[in-house]
């Protein structure tokens, strides 16, 4: 039995999750806040090849994480718009309307989680990058840093990521159930009153 998810409840829950994660981040970032980590170029001649590769990999990871974050933000916007449209002008899908509403809410919730996950992942990649810079500097006598807070920030971000991962997994599992229910209801709709309302709704602004 799938619980009825109210869009506003889902959204506020997503927001509270996000706020919690952000708070964690902020605190963790503050831990490493006392020192400024200077970046090191991946082309720095003082470094051996493996050190350069490590820096380049860490920098690439940040870019990849940022790109994924942008994708999730876009997906979240689309989910938001769909949810708003549905709440303002719900289609007349007969007995399938309720499940459609639940599905849209679940999609929005999942999109929010995906975005949160991407944000945390991005932050993790940034923390890792700082750590790589610091470790490289220490290793090759370029600068001296306290690595412990940096390690902690990476670990903290990772834990937050794992937590979000678990939540995301649950949300996906719920989604799967809802999707099955929706298509079953859609089939019922096709066999009874017809699906014109669905198609008209999809193609009107």
């Amino acid at each position: 039995m799938v619980s009825n998810l109210n869009p506003s409840t889902v959204t506020s829950r997503s927001i509270s999750v996000f706020r919690y994660i952000s708070l964690v981040f902020a605190l963790l970032s503050l831990i490493g806040c006392g020192q400024t980590i200077r970046s090191i170029s991946a082309a720095d001649n003082r470094l051996p090849n493996e050190a350069k590769e490590r820096i380049a990999d860490a920098e690439d990871a940040v870019l990849i994480a940022r790109s994924r974050l942008q994708d999730t933000e876009r997906a979240r916007e689309i989910a938001d718009q769909k949810s708003l449209k549905f709440s303002q002008q719900p289609p007349n899908l007969g007995s399938a309307t309720a499940i459609a509403r639940q599905l849209i809410s679940a999609r929005l919730h999942l999109a929010s989680l995906e975005q949160s996950y991407a944000e945390v992942n991005h932050q993790l990649s940034l923390n890792r990058l700082k750590l790589v810079y610091a470790q490289t500097a220490m290793r090759y006598d370029i600068a001296v840093y306290d690595l412990i807070p940096l390690d902690q920030s990476v670990d903290g971000a990772r834990q937050a990521l794992l937590q979000l991962r678990r939540e995301r997994k649950q949300a996906r599992s719920k989604m799967k159930t809802l999707v099955d229910q929706w298509w079953k209801a859609y089939k019922g709709l096709a066999q009874s009153t017809g699906t014109q309302a669905f198609w008209v709704y999809e193609f009107t602004k």
Binding site: Y186, E202, F203
Partner: protein
């Protein structure tokens, strides 16, 4: 009384004001132009003055060279004055057709004639004669004395035919004859000019000749003359660019071209008429004028081919004016009459272009503009539809080939739509629904009472556009231009609104067809998809028949798929598949959904979708494929999960894999659990590994991977010092796999041996060696444990059972025991296998075997008593060296125990041989000097051997003192004792009676599993285990740290070993720490050696060798 100044100032002011006013009252005179008569009168005066002066000059110039010129000039001046008088009279009387009576003119002209006559008389051979005659002729002409005129001009022609004025005279004569209708004479005169060389009047002469010919009815010749007039004029102008002929009366190019029309239209065919005139025209103006005239001629003559061509040319070339409307009518009529629609596209283009220019004209009123729209629209549409009817008659109404005529028709409709369908410019007119008046000219011609304006049908542009769109879309469709057809259907659907569903449907179908062929440009693809969706959305708002519904919805969904917008595509294709199962569209939709999910690499969703389709229903033919895809997707989803787990943020993937396994049974579930096991192993999560191993055993008891699982579990347990689990794991694995039992039991035995449980270790190994699959490693380990921890008798009985297994390790053990049992011959035989296996044998059995062999060699040396023979003595020496080398070979293996034993025994051997060699007598066969040398040599050799004895002992001692290795032979060396027999006492270790709880040092155990070189973790774990009073396990943990851990770790290791009863291990730890200079290391080592290991003089031995360089360490 007013002041006096007031009386003065007021009148003064008034006077000033009045003065000013008087100045203002008269405006300045305007400088007007003088009247024309005044100007002309001035001309008269000028001429008169010039005449007077000329006469005066003449009077003085008698006999001069310029007198002739002066006389001619006088006559011309008289003529000029006459002309001026005439112009004055004309100006005064106004321009009218009445002839003017001006007496001065006659008088002056007659005077002029007189001057010419006198001139001719006085200067008959003058070069100015022609000019005089010509001027005279002109005067006579203006006087109306035509006979005289003719006579003078004929005189020029006859007397001075080569003079340039002769041609002009001929021209005038010809014109005169022409005026008198004497056409042949006129023609002759003109011909005389045309047949002579090029002259400025040649063109004009041709022109006049042409007209003469026209009047003579010789049109064909007239055409040639007109053409010649054009060519000659053009030729003259081109060669005399500075001349003023262009545009003058002599430039008859335009006139010739235009006047030629009549005869041309009479004599020549319509073919290429425009081309012909274009070739002759020097400029657009004359050409247009000629074409307009041709147009009129052809209209009158009803020559439609020519009219068509000329109308086209006029519409292309001529400027915008009202005549163009006639041209459009002409073109339309001609085409209709000829039924010529080959170029209907271009023709309609002309009409629409003309209309566009007309509609933009600022001069037209709104009503005129509307009227133009109505008429042009009708003409354009009529042509296009007529062309279509003609094509349908010719090609039928099904499929059409893509021939030029069809393209023209499409072009015609397209231009029509571009012009009349342009909303912005025609909006007001479109909505007006104007009732236009159409004048039917043909009917008005037939009406003898004059023009008959018939009321026109009401004008509905919108409906006309709709009809034209229908036609055009049909044409596109017939010729296979689906994209274009679709666009037009769509436009029509838009115009029709609710009634346009059939057109919208056709648009969808055609867009779909267009999208399915290759060769579309990117823009066309994007537009097609977007318009297809729009057309479909229009249809969706209404009720669709079932068959159309499937096609339309599928078409929409397909556009998203093709654009790569997979999320939307999946949504809509799933809707189609769900709504229309067992249909073509439904089946295609199913496969596309699955493909889209595959493109997204969303394997879990792919598996779900496939399963859903199977549940909700698909066609029977598709089921096997979908089932196979679902199975593949599940595998791939699992693989993805496992790959993710290997990444840096693999996270809690084990639990996800376990969940996966729980929702999927069979090989997939088993694989998931195996992946979970591997993941947990990679993270060093021993608990996780255990849990998953249990799940695999309970869920898949027959899994072929269970052996690997338990052996991996055991290995991980051993790494993390969970020795009970390790042994249990190996045992389980061995039970499950008889084939690998030997190796697994050996691994279990190793673990047992490490914690001092020798009995268990030997039991496991005894079981292992029985297996036919035992390998050399197993035998080696067995032999080592037996020899190190059991009595020779126990070893002998254990190894006898294995003597036929062909193992070099067993052979080494048996050979050693045979040596102990003094069966040297048998030992020598047994040990050959050891020699043959060479370096491939492990260190311990190899060292053992070589040691035994060295003992055999020593025995044979000792048993050999050389006789009185050099050879036998030499042989003895060889045997001695062989035995020495044998011991050294053992030392070189690096194995501490047997190496030390070998050094000790070498020392003993060296002592024996040094003493023995002294007892040898020189052989009697030697000479006395040789005997002496012999004795000397042996004496020296004895000394060397004695040194060797001391060196060997020292080397043995240094194994301990310098390297910290103290097996039993080393301790004997330190005591200065030589081993009396080859036997080395077994090692001892206490049984493990205290087991630390598994949670102790759990984090460090996991860290070691991840990184066995983590010295810090190893030390922490060792310390924790020591604190938990489990020294056996502690020494294993610390053993991982002694390599890089430093003196304190080595000392700590020594403490753990000592507490476990492993004194040899302890002394090696303390010894290394002592060598490093750690104070407690030295203390502990001395204590242990002295108190437990019977090396009482250790402090003396280590004084100066073990020096304290660092304070610290744990005290034992």
């Amino acid at each position: 009384m007013r002041p006096q100044s007031v009386y003065i100032s007021i009148p003064l002011s008034v006077i000033c004001v009045l003065s000013l006013l008087s100045g203002c009252s008269s405006l300045p005179q305007a400088a007007l132009d003088p009247p024309i008569t005044e100007t002309l009168k001035q001309r008269i005066t000028k001429a008169r003055n010039a005449i007077i002066e000329t006469r005066r000059t003449l009077a003085r110039a008698t006999g001069s060279t310029y007198v002739q010129e002066l006389r001619i000039r006088l006559a011309e001046l008289l003529s000029d004055e006459a002309r001026a008088h005439y112009q004055v009279a004309r100006a005064r009387e106004g321009i009218s057709n009445k002839s003017l009576q001006v007496p001065q003119v006659k008088t002056l002209k007659q005077q002029s004639v007189t001057v010419y006559q006198e001139f001719l008389k006085d200067y008959p051979a003058s070069p100015l004669r022609a000019r005089a005659l010509y001027n005279m002729g002109q005067e006579y002409r203006e006087l109306g004395e035509y006979d005289e005129m003719r006579s003078r001009f004929e005189q020029i022609v006859s007397e001075l035919p080569n003079d340039p004025l002769a041609n002009e005279a001929l021209l005038i004569l010809g014109g005169d004859y022409f005026d008198r209708n004497k056409l042949d004479e006129a023609a002759n005169r003109f011909r005389k000019i045309t047949e002579s060389g090029i002259h400025k009047v040649s063109g004009l002469a041709h022109y006049k000749l042409a007209w003469t010919q026209v009047n003579l009815g010789k049109c064909d010749e007239a055409i040639k003359s007109f053409e010649a007039a054009i060519k000659r004029s053009h030729q003259w102008i081109s060669t005399n660019k500075n001349g003023s002929l262009e545009g003058s009366q002599y430039d008859v190019r335009r006139e010739s071209l235009v006047d030629m029309v009549y005869c041309y239209s009479k004599e020549r065919s319509d073919k290429s008429v425009v081309k012909h005139f274009k070739r002759l025209a020097y400029d657009r103006g004359p050409l247009v004028a000629a074409l307009e005239k041709l147009s009129r001629r052809y209209t009158i003559l009803d020559r439609n081919e020519g009219l068509r061509d000329v109308s086209r040319a006029l519409l292309d070339l001529a400027p915008d004016n009202s005549k163009r409307r006639d041209d459009t009518e002409n073109l339309h009529n001609a085409l209709k009459k000829l039924k010529d629609y080959k170029r209907v596209g271009e023709d309609v283009g002309r009409l629409t272009a003309t209309f566009t220019r007309v509609a933009r004209s600022a001069r037209l009123t709104t009503a005129e503009r509307s009227s133009a729209l109505i008429r042009f629209e009708q003409l354009s549409r009529d042509l296009a539809t007529s062309a279509q009817l003609a094509l349908e008659k010719r090609l039928g109404t099904k499929r059409w080939s893509d021939i030029p005529a069809v393209r023209q028709l499409e072009d015609a409709y397209t231009r029509y739509l571009e012009t009349y369908g342009a909303k912005a410019s025609l909006e007001s007119l479109m909505t007006a629904n104007v009732k236009g008046q159409l004048v039917d000219k043909s009917k008005s011609k037939a009406n003898k009472q004059g023009e008959n304006n018939e009321p026109a049908e009401s004008f509905d542009l919108r409906q006309n556009l709709i009809d034209v769109l229908a036609n055009l879309s049909m044409v596109h469709s017939r010729v296979g231009r689906d994209y274009s057809a679709a666009q037009r259907f769509y436009e029509r659907a838009q115009l029709l609104g609710r009634e346009g569903s059939e057109d919208a449907y056709q648009a969808v179908l055609h867009f779909q067809k267009a999208l399915s062929v290759e060769g579309q440009s990117r823009g066309e693809l994007v537009i097609s998809r977007a318009l297809l969706r729009r057309a479909s959305s229009q249809l969706l708002n209404g009720a669709l028949p079932k068959d159309q519904g499937a096609k339309v919805r599928y078409a929409i969904a397909l556009t998203y798929y093709e654009e790569g917008r997979l999320d939307k595509a999946i949504e809509y294709l799933t809707a189609v598949a769900t709504e229309y199962p067992n249909s073509t569209q439904g089946d295609s939709a199913v496969m596309l959904v699955l493909d889209a999910l595959k493109q997204k690499s969303a394997y879990d969703q792919l598996a779900s979708a496939g399963s859903r389709f199977l549940t909700l229903g698909i066609s029977a033919a598709l089921k096997p494929r979908v089932t196979s895809i679902v199975a593949q997707a599940q595998q791939l989803a699992l693989d993805e999960l496992a790959l993710e787990a290997a990444g840096i943020d693999g996270g809690d993937v084990s639990s996800e894999l376990i969940d996966f396994a729980q929702t999927n049974s069979g090989s997939l579930g088993e694989r998931a659990l195996l992946n979970a096991f591997v993941t947990a192993q990679g993270e060093g999560d021993f608990k996780g590994m255990k849990k998953v191993a249990e799940l695999i055993e309970s869920g898949y008891p027959k899994s072929t991977q269970l052996v690997s699982v338990y052996s991996s579990l055991a290995r991980s347990a051993a790494e993390q010092l969970y020795v009970t689990e390790a042994i249990s794991g190996y045992d389980k694995a061995a039970r499950l796999s008889p084939r690998q039992a030997a190796q697994l039991n050996a691994a279990s035995a190793e673990v047992s041996a490490k914690i001092g449980d020798i009995d268990s270790a030997l039991r496991s190994l005894a079981s292992a060696v029985k297996s036919p699959s035992s390998d050399e490693r197993v035998f080696g380990l067995y032999v080592q444990l037996l020899i190190d921890h059991r009595t020779p008798a126990e070893c002998w009985s254990a190894l006898q059972a294995l003597k036929d297994r062909g193992s070099p390790s067993v052979a080494a053990g048996i050979g050693y025991l045979q040596v102990l049992r003094k069966s040297f011959d048998e030992a020598e035989m047994t040990l050959q296998v050891v020699i043959e296996s060479g370096e491939s044998l492990a260190q311990y059995p190899r060292a053992l075997g070589l040691y035994a062999l060295a003992e055999v060699n020593t025995h044979f040396l000792k048993g050999f008593i050389p006789g009185d023979s050099t050879d036998e003595l030499a042989e003895w020496v060889t045997l001695m060296e062989l035995a020495e080398q044998s011991y050294l070979r053992v030392a070189r293996t690096g194995q501490a125990k047997w190496g030390a034993a070998a050094l000790n025994r070498l020392s003993g051997l060296s002592l024996f041989t040094s003493e023995k060699i002294q007892t040898f007598k020189p052989p009697s066969e030697l000479s006395s000097s040789n005997k002496q040398r012999f004795a000397q040599g042996f004496k020296q050799r004895s000394i060397i051997l004695k040194k060797q004895q001391a060196q060997s002992l020292k080397a043995c001692q240094e194994l301990g003192l310098a390297r910290g290795l103290f097996p039993a032979p080393v301790r004997q060396c330190l005591n200065g004792q030589l081993m009396s027999s080859p036997a080395v006492d077994p090692s001892t270790i206490k049984a493990r009676n205290q087991k630390a709880a598994p949670e102790i040092g759990a984090a460090d155990r996991a860290a070691l599993a991840q990184n066995p070189n983590d010295i810090q973790a190893a030390v922490r774990l060792g310390e924790a285990l020591l604190a938990a009073k489990d020294p056996h396990l502690a020494r294993l943990a610390l053993a991982q740290a002694i390599q890089g851990g430093g003196a304190e770790v080595q000392n700590l290791y020594g403490v753990a070993c000592a507490l476990a009863g492993d004194y040899e291990g302890a002394i090696s730890g303390f010894g290394r720490a002592a060598v490093s200079g750690l104070s407690e290391g030295i203390e502990n080592a001395n204590k242990l050696l002295k108190n437990q290991l019977n090396v009482s003089n250790i402090e003396r031995l280590t004084k100066g060798v073990w020096n304290v360089t660092a304070n610290g360490g744990v005290k034992w």
